[in-house]
């Protein structure tokens, strides 16, 4: 029991060893980090505030603001060091360092925080639109070039190092300067400047009557990141969900956990990047504050000799384990050295059909492998050839994986994945290999299985009816973490001096009423079939109902009742005696 508890209690708080490993990876990931920075550049001219043919509940502006808010709150949870900014153009009022007209910087590039989220919320919905009009006004007489210039200024005003700069442009106007070639030219020039300074400019185009035609203007403006080129532009967004998908795909700069060689043999290798598409989001560690001022404080841990009181340096300590009544001592360096087997890399062992991969051989979240052309030229073509053939032949590549020095190897299955776009041409599955960790013999445990008592056909069929009533389409983003959500809502409430935190709906709880409604009598019918009337699963077992395999079911006299009959019996409440009779027969 202690085994179970020790793991679970530590979940989310401190997991000793696992946590350290993850921590180590996190270090790798943020190693080169400056901050990611992202400016939301939002068209605020009239058309953005008009619903498209009244079929959407949200105006394009409303959808945009909801998206932005969503990015803010998710950044607060996942990467609160990133910098975000919101800039409107096409406003009556202006506010920006160069005093450009019709450009209003609502929020400079800074970390997302509670007050900024609250400010965004003010401009949502009908009330928000009115407030927006009253506060900023609308004007069609803007220059997109100047808006881009203002963004560029925002980037240069930031003093911390930025690793990744991106502008997301939200608009439903596909030809803003149709009648003003000078403004159009300026916009193109500014867009070119952005490109030259490595700033990515993505178009988040929204639906407009007659369709959004990128070729009219924006084709020359946008600047797609080299590593995100689908060779095709996504469709315009008419729905919030779709816009959200487009934004989410780009809101975080992807970073490789590690770049390493994939060795087909000792002297034949290509380079790949390893990414993690899943990263458990934990409740953040608390910070210590000084009671008087609420300022963060530093903690320092010192090691000292308990007897002499003298300070111990790391070199004054060794590491020990107990086995066979003996303490065995190693140098700290030796504890690292004994983990060293290979240099970092993926070493190909061979290929296996995908079907041999056991579904339940799982030990830790998968990673993703994609070629890295910048280190060894030609990697991508070789990688692509491997990917194409593995897909075609439905095989996986078995590899020995050493992500870092001083990390013992693990075996992994590289499982090919074909690129997949949805109807709106947004990527939902990237091309590459999933890296699936495989267990060693030590990782498998014997379990003490319960003898099976097979259910009969009727019982299985009844359960099938139950299942059919409760089907839904699972999506990976269906469930929010209720613990994290509650935590951040609490913080939000405290940060904003709200009376009470907003209650998050706990999506992990079964929807009992809805389930009961859908199931109707099925549960009772199933229970009649499998449980004796006096059986209460909350208490100890009473006596056996029935448990013969299908073969014997045929011989039973009682199964003469058709299902319809059965149903009517149940409805009339007359089934009890029948099943009871049958049961006593079986238990002889």
């Amino acid at each position: 029991m202690s085994d179970w508890v020790s793991y679970y209690r530590s979940e989310g708080a401190e997991e000793e060893d696992d946590e350290q490993e993850e921590g180590a990876e996190a270090v790798v990931e943020h190693k080169f980090a400056g901050r990611d920075s992202l400016i939301f550049l939002v068209d605020a001219s009239k058309a953005m505030f008009e619903s498209y043919e009244n079929e959407e509940v949200f105006t394009p502006f409303d959808m945009t603001m909801q998206c932005i808010r969503n990015v803010y709150t998710s950044k607060i949870i996942s990467s609160d060091r990133d910098l975000l900014s919101v800039v409107f153009y096409g406003t009556e009022k202006n506010k920006n360092s160069a005093d450009f007209k019709r450009v209003y910087v609502l929020q400079e590039l800074d970390n997302p925080g509670a007050k900024r989220v609250l400010e965004l919320d003010k401009y949502r919905g009908d009330q928000g639109q009115i407030l927006f009009r009253d506060t900023f006004g609308h004007s069609a007489d803007y220059s997109l070039g100047e808006a881009l210039w203002a963004c560029s200024n925002l980037f240069s005003d930031v003093r911390v190092r930025m690793s990744h700069k991106r502008i997301m442009l939200f608009t439903n106007e596909d030809n803003p300067h149709a009648n003003d070639s000078a403004k159009a030219k300026l916009a193109r020039t500014r867009a070119g400047d952005l490109r030259d300074t490595g700033i990515i400019l993505d178009l988040m185009h929204l639906k407009k009557p007659g369709g959004f035609d990128i070729s009219l203007f924006y084709r020359d403006i946008i600047n797609i990141a080299e590593d995100e080129d689908l060779g095709i532009q996504p469709h315009e967004s008419g729905k919030l969900e779709h816009l959200m998908k487009k934004v989410r795909a780009k809101e975080t700069k992807k970073r490789a956990l590690v770049r390493l060689n994939l060795y087909l043999s000792k002297d034949l290798s290509l380079t790949v990047g390893v990414y993690s598409l899943l990263q458990k989001a934990y409740k953040p560690y608390p910070v210590k504050l000084y009671r008087e001022t609420n300022e963060p404080i530093k903690t320092k841990t010192r090691m000292f000799n308990g007897k002499t009181g003298s300070l111990l340096l790391p070199s004054d300590t060794k590491r020990a384990q107990m086995y066979g009544n003996r303490q065995i001592v190693l140098e700290k360096e030796e504890t690292e050295e004994l983990k060293r087997f290979d240099l970092p890399g993926l070493v190909l062992i061979g290929f296996k059909p995908l079907s041999v991969l056991k579904q339940h051989h799982y030990i830790r979240p998968s990673q993703f492998v994609y070629p890295e052309e910048a280190l060894v030229k030609g990697s991508t073509t070789l990688f692509n050839a491997l990917l194409m053939k593995c897909l075609e032949r439905e095989v996986l590549a078995l590899c020995r994986y050493t992500p870092r020095r001083n990390t013992p190897p693990r075996f992994v299955a590289l499982v090919p994945q074909e690129e997949e776009l949805d109807e709106q041409k947004v990527q939902i599955a990237p091309p590459g290999f999933h890296l699936i960790f495989l267990p060693y013999a030590d990782d498998k445990r014997k379990v003490d299985f319960t003898e099976k008592v097979p259910a009969n056909r009727e019982q299985v069929d009844k359960m099938k009816e139950i299942i059919q009533k409760l089907r839904f389409k699972y999506r990976t983003d269906s469930f929010e973490n209720p613990v994290l959500q509650q935590h951040f809502r609490n913080l939000e409430a405290l940060a904003l001096d709200m009376m009470e935190p907003e209650q998050a709906e706990d999506l992990t709880m079964p929807k009992a009423e809805e389930m009961s409604r859908r199931l109707g009598n099925l549960v009772e019918e199933f229970k009649q079939l499998v449980y004796p009337p006096d059986y209460d699963p909350d208490r100890r077992a009473v006596k056996r109902k029935q448990g013969d395999g299908d073969g014997q079911t045929e011989k039973k006299p009682k199964t003469e009742i058709s299902r319809d009959e059965l149903r009517s019996h149940v409805q009339k409440g007359t089934l009890d005696s029948k099943t009871h009779f049958n049961m006593s027969k079986k238990t002889e």
């Binding site: 029991m1 989310g12 190693k31 080169f32 950044k75 925080g113 080129d229 689908l230 290509l270 608390p286 504050l289 609420n294 963060p296 404080i297 530093k298 010192r302 340096l313 790391p314 060794k318 590491r319 066979g324 009544n325 190693l330 087997f341 240099l343 062992i349 061979g350 041999v356 280190l375 990697s379 991508t380 073509t381 194409m388 053939k389 075996f411 990237p430 091309p431 699936i436 495989l438 030590d442 445990r445 003490d448 099976k452 299985v460 359960m463 299942i467 059919q468 409760l470 089907r471 389409k473 929010e480 509650q486 935590h487 609490n490 913080l491 706990d506 199933f526 499998v530 056996r544 448990g547």
Partner: protein, 682 residues
């Protein structure tokens, strides 16, 4: 799981010490087998108890000895958990004697010991493992009694001999010949004496009478035992049952029990001990809190409160408030939220670090039937259950998938955690198929085809139903633990020696099977010829100073990580010192740096190669310059001396030469020069 009681019964009679030139004596071989066996037990932390009985000893110490009965038989160690003292005894204390004793007498002593010392203990099996070369005279008088007693008490007997038993009379029955392939060793049977032949006869008679079918299978040679024991065995854990109820809606529950079935085994953690006293208690830690001002004003722990970041804001949030307001899991649960098509749950989305197997509760046939109905309904509809799972009230709830798993022997649900929305990273990657640059040619594709053919690890058997898999990672013991145990064992006996090299058989296990290796040579050459690969400049040494030094930060007096903007692996010591060490003396700073540098240089030197050498040299140069500036030359000299011995250990004479040249090229002050010369003359 329950434990065994084992007597290791070793012949130390004088003949056991005789060895043919260039070979190990039977005693040495037997000791090796026993050592391997005991080491496995020790590192698996097995609860099996082991006793040692020696026969052929000068003296006599056993309960049955009286008059001239049971002489020269010594109970060396009573039944208890094996430990390193026993291992040391076997290695150093147990030597060949000058006497000899009847192995049948020894068996009787062992039986007596097992009977007496297991009274009141729980055990599953009792074994006697007999190691002998059968050179001593044997009297068959008591054979019948021994057999009857072994049968009656259920004590199992195994023989370990220096030679195979079945070669001398041309095979005695099927079991012996079936066994013979195992004994395909080079042990010459010619050296066998008449006495040994008689011994063999008795052993075979004994074992055959005990068990007509498999008795002879329980006779092993030393060599085959060694091979089998060369792997450390895995630790057996008692499966821990988690009883709960599977619920579907509010009215249907099924009593279940779950077990962890796959979970990454983590090693024991290391204890920090004082380097001099080797005592854990001597190492104590204290944490001090201080303000972030220039003076680092120390404050009391009581004057601190807890807070959390909320984006740019830091929100004070006391532990009490947090506890009060946090999400609360009501109780343990395994609640079905709904059902989805199994293809909607993709394997790459599995989360967490374990797999549960879920069964119906034990001894409840009603539950078993209901559960079976669920399993089969899921399987037939090809759907899975999406489940809310909470281990208990104190634990965070998970969302996971439960899918049916039906085997001949049992059926169960398998549960794995799935991600929450917050755990997903939606990264976008450039298209590979929409980029003409990266589309392989037909030739290239067919080269990959032949590569896949040649490196295929799985063969379909002729019947088309079963497979032969040449490489199963799930059958391989984790090399990390094998290596750890090997090192621990080595250090237990030789605390002051460096770590031994990795055992070749361990490395072999991790390699591609030989047949595949040979087969894929030609296709690999083809791939190599058809796919031009060009190294575009050296792979950037992607290490920052932070990375370089992070190994040493742990547990040090300043957990604060140095800030390092430099990505190239070059660095200035002073900037590190400032970022890293704020409250210790300059002496400590330098001391730290030398530690860090030593390790860093070690790492560079592991990768023999000139660019790493140069990095190492640069480290040394920088250190020297800083040491000179701070007038702490002694530190540098100490460091250099340590380095020299390390370099010698690793046979890196060429590196040392470069160091010397590098040092000569730059003039520096006299004291050091003298010292350095002295050093290089050593």
């Amino acid at each position: 799981l329950s434990w065994s009681s084992i007597v290791l019964c070793l012949d130390v009679g004088f003949a056991m010490g005789n060895a043919a030139p260039g070979e190990e004596s039977p005693l040495e071989q037997a000791k090796k087998v026993m050592t391997k066996f005991l080491q496995r037990q020790v590192f698996a932390e097995s609860k099996d108890e082991v006793a040692v009985v020696l026969f052929g000893t000068e003296g006599t110490r056993n309960d049955l000895a009286s008059g001239d009965q049971y002489q020269n038989i010594t109970v060396h160690r009573s039944l208890m958990l094996p430990d390193f003292d026993l291992l040391e005894d076997i290695q150093n204390v147990i030597q060949p004697g000058s006497e000899q004793a009847d192995f049948l007498d020894a068996i009787i002593v062992c039986m007596d010991l097992l009977q007496k010392e297991t009274i009141g203990k729980k055990y599953e099996k009792r074994h006697i493992e007999l190691f002998t070369d059968l050179s001593s005279p044997v009297s068959e008088d008591q054979l019948e009694i021994i057999i009857a007693n072994l049968k009656k008490t259920g004590i199992l007997l195994q023989f370990f001999l220096p030679f195979p038993v079945d070669a001398d009379d041309g095979g005695g029955g099927t079991s012996a010949s079936a066994h013979s392939h195992v004994h395909r060793n080079s042990f010459a049977r010619k050296g066998i004496t008449e006495q040994q032949k008689e011994g063999i006869h008795v052993v075979k008679k004994l074992m055959h009478t005990l068990d007509e079918e498999g008795g002879l299978e329980e006779i092993y040679t030393f060599r085959e035992s060694l091979e089998r024991l060369s792997m450390f065995k895995k630790m057996e854990r008692r499966p821990v049952a988690w009883p709960c109820q599977l619920t579907i809606g509010s009215n249907l529950s099924i009593r279940i029990v779950a077990y962890k079935s796959v979970k990454e085994k983590v090693k024991k953690t290391w204890t920090v001990v004082d380097a001099k006293t080797l005592r854990k208690d001597d190492v104590q830690k204290e944490t001090v809190y201080c303000l972030n001002d220039d003076d680092e004003t120390e404050i009391q722990k009581d004057d601190t409160i807890q807070g959390f970041r909320y984006g740019s804001d830091i929100v004070p949030f006391s532990k009490v408030d947090e506890e009060q307001m946090k999400y609360k899991t009501e109780a343990k649960c395994f609640s079905v939220l709904g059902f989805s098509r199994s293809c909607q749950i993709q394997r790459q989305y599995y989360m967490g670090n374990q797999v549960l197997k879920v069964f119906a509760a034990k001894d409840d046939e009603n539950a078993a039937v209901a559960f079976s109905a669920l399993i089969h309904a899921l399987a037939e509809l090809k759907v899975v259950a999406i489940v809310r799972y909470a281990f208990d009230r104190r634990c965070n709830p998970q969302i996971g998938v439960a899918f049916p798993y039906i085997k001949d022997a049992y059926e169960c649900l398998i549960y794995v955690q799935l991600p929450y929305m917050e755990d997903l990273r939606q990264y976008m990657f450039s298209s590979l198929k929409n980029n003409k640059k990266y589309i392989p040619t037909e030739d290239q594709l067919s080269a990959i085809d032949s590569l896949i053919d040649s490196m295929n690890l799985v063969y379909e058997d002729d019947d088309g139903e079963s497979f032969e898999d040449l490489f199963k990672p799930s059958k391989i013991p984790n090399p990390h633990f094998q290596r750890l145990y090997q090192c621990l064992q080595h250090k237990a006996f030789y605390p002051n020696e460096p770590l031994p090299p990795i055992e070749p058989h361990l490395l072999e296990m991790l390699e591609m099977p030989c047949v595949v290796k040979e087969r894929c040579q030609a296709p690999l050459e083809k791939v190599k010829a058809l796919f031009p690969l060009k190294d575009v400049g050296k792979k950037k040494e992607d290490k920052t100073a932070q990375d370089i030094f992070k190994d040493n930060n742990e547990g040090g007096p300043n957990p604060k990580k140095p800030k390092a903007e430099d990505e190239e692996g070059g660095f200035s010591i002073i900037s590190i010192a400032e970022g890293n060490v704020t409250s210790v003396s300059i002496f400590l700073q330098i001391f730290f740096l030398s530690q860090q540098l030593t390790n860093r240089i070690d790492q560079f030197l592991e990768n023999k190669g000139s660019q790493y050498y140069m990095k190492g040299i640069n480290c040394i140069k920088v250190f020297r310059e800083e040491a000179i500036k701070l007038s702490k030359v002694q530190c540098f000299n100490d460091f250099l001396q340590a380095l020299k011995s390390k370099v010698e250990d690793k046979a890196l004479a060429d590196f040392w030469e470069i160091v010397m040249q590098g040092m000569m090229a730059i003039p520096f002050f006299f004291f050091f020069l003298v010292y350095f010369y002295k050093l290089s003359m050593m």
